[in-house]
């Protein structure tokens, strides 16, 4: 168990989270994991705060969005020889105490991706949107947007495939790509905190919501029943 933790890199994409990032980094480190914060062009003290708490910080030269930042983390993890990458949000929403529930021997042996899911946290509006996305994409995931995910080395590599670059968030697009590659995905129910600071970057204005709904609907519908390719 100890060695699994040593081989895992926690990847935290952060954009203007100076209030919470330090504490999140410290709490994850107290679980024994190495922590990488990918600073997505923050205009505040996110980078130095994270560094002061003992994280390695990567600074992006161009703002890439949460998914691009996570991919950067995958790149770093693969290069540095980590076997697993664990993504979590910088706003304190994901509890570092739930990491051991994801990083179990059983999960690691049998699954490629483990998602910490907490469908209870969302508003009725979003619940409706989710059931719509589930229907059009024929998936049965409980939590479509959870940013608390454990990736194996192999799945991190697949997420650096040329199809994976144009997503903005770690949600439907990434899930459907995982499915296309035929990866074994498991969802583990976990507790999540209500956001300590900040708010959803998507669900905070109507125009964005409409755009998000349209984009994700198209994305999901276009991947309708995309089967994993047969392994040679």
């Amino acid at each position: 168990m100890k060695s699994i933790i040593r081989q895992t890199l926690a990847i935290i994409p952060a954009l203007n989270e100076e209030d919470s990032v330090g504490e999140v980094v410290a709490r994850v480190r107290s679980q024994g994991l190495d922590v990488l914060v990918v600073n997505d062009q923050s205009s505040d003290q996110t980078g130095p705060e994270a560094m002061a708490s003992g994280a390695v910080v990567l600074n992006l030269a161009v703002r890439l969005g949460a998914w691009g930042a996570i991919q950067t983390g995958f790149r770093y993890a693969i290069k540095k020889g980590y076997m697993f990458g664990l993504t979590l949000d910088a706003d304190g929403q994901h509890l570092p105490e739930s990491i051991p529930f994801l990083l179990t021997k059983d999960n690691i042996r049998n699954y490629d991706v483990v998602i910490g899911s907490c469908p209870g946290r969302v508003s009725p509006m979003r619940k409706l949107a989710w059931s719509w996305f589930r229907k059009i994409s024929c998936t049965d995931f409980d939590d479509l947007t959870s940013g608390l995910r454990l990736y194996s080395r192999w799945s991190m590599r697949l997420m650096l495939d040329r199809r994976a670059y144009l997503f903005d968030y770690q949600d439907m697009g990434a899930l459907l790509l995982l499915r296309k590659h035929g990866l074994k995905i498991r969802e583990v129910p976990v507790m999540m905190a209500s956001r300590e600071s900040g708010h959803s970057r998507v669900f905070n204005n109507w125009f964005k919501v409409c755009k998000y709904m349209a984009v994700t609907t198209l994305l999901s519908a276009s991947k309708f029943r995309q089967k994993p390719r047969k392994k040679k």
């Binding site: 922590v35 560094m51 990567l58 991919q71 290069k79």
Partner: protein
């Protein structure tokens, strides 16, 4: 005697074609785009000098108002070009993202190795030594 409207369309076509050739000559465009624009320029000259060409096609296709052919063809060309441009933009966006990600990783590695006296000075390195993973 050449009718005035014919002179006008010929000048318009030739001028546009001339501008396109001039831009290609000055290497203002990557060679990949040149073929498309040469075809456009040739079409403009053709229709400009022989405005009867659309009438001929109109008769064949049974279109009562031949000038609409020019408009339809032009619109199609514009739409195709826009589509190609969006595909190209997505490709470039992907390239930018890959470069940005690689740069961030290399920057960190350079800093780890070189420390303060790095031969590859990195912005932000004045923030002091990093306490991360060793």
């Amino acid at each position: 005697m050449i009718p005035t409207y014919n002179l006008f369309t010929a000048i318009l076509g030739l001028a546009t074609a001339g501008l396109i050739i001039y831009l290609i000559r000055r290497d203002s465009m990557s060679a990949n785009y040149v073929v498309w624009w040469v075809v456009i320029a040739a079409g403009l000259v053709l229709v400009g000098i022989f405005p009867k060409v659309p009438d001929y096609f109109g008769k064949i296709l049974g279109i009562a108002y031949p000038p609409i052919i020019i408009i339809i063809v032009t619109l199609c060309m514009v739409l195709i070009k826009l589509l190609l441009m969006d595909i190209d933009r997505s490709r470039q966006e992907r390239q930018i993202r890959i470069l940005t990600q690689k740069l961030a990783v290399y920057e960190q590695e350079a800093e780890e190795e070189g420390g303060e006296g790095s031969a590859f000075p990195v912005q932000g390195s004045t923030l002091g030594k990093r306490g991360g993973k060793k």
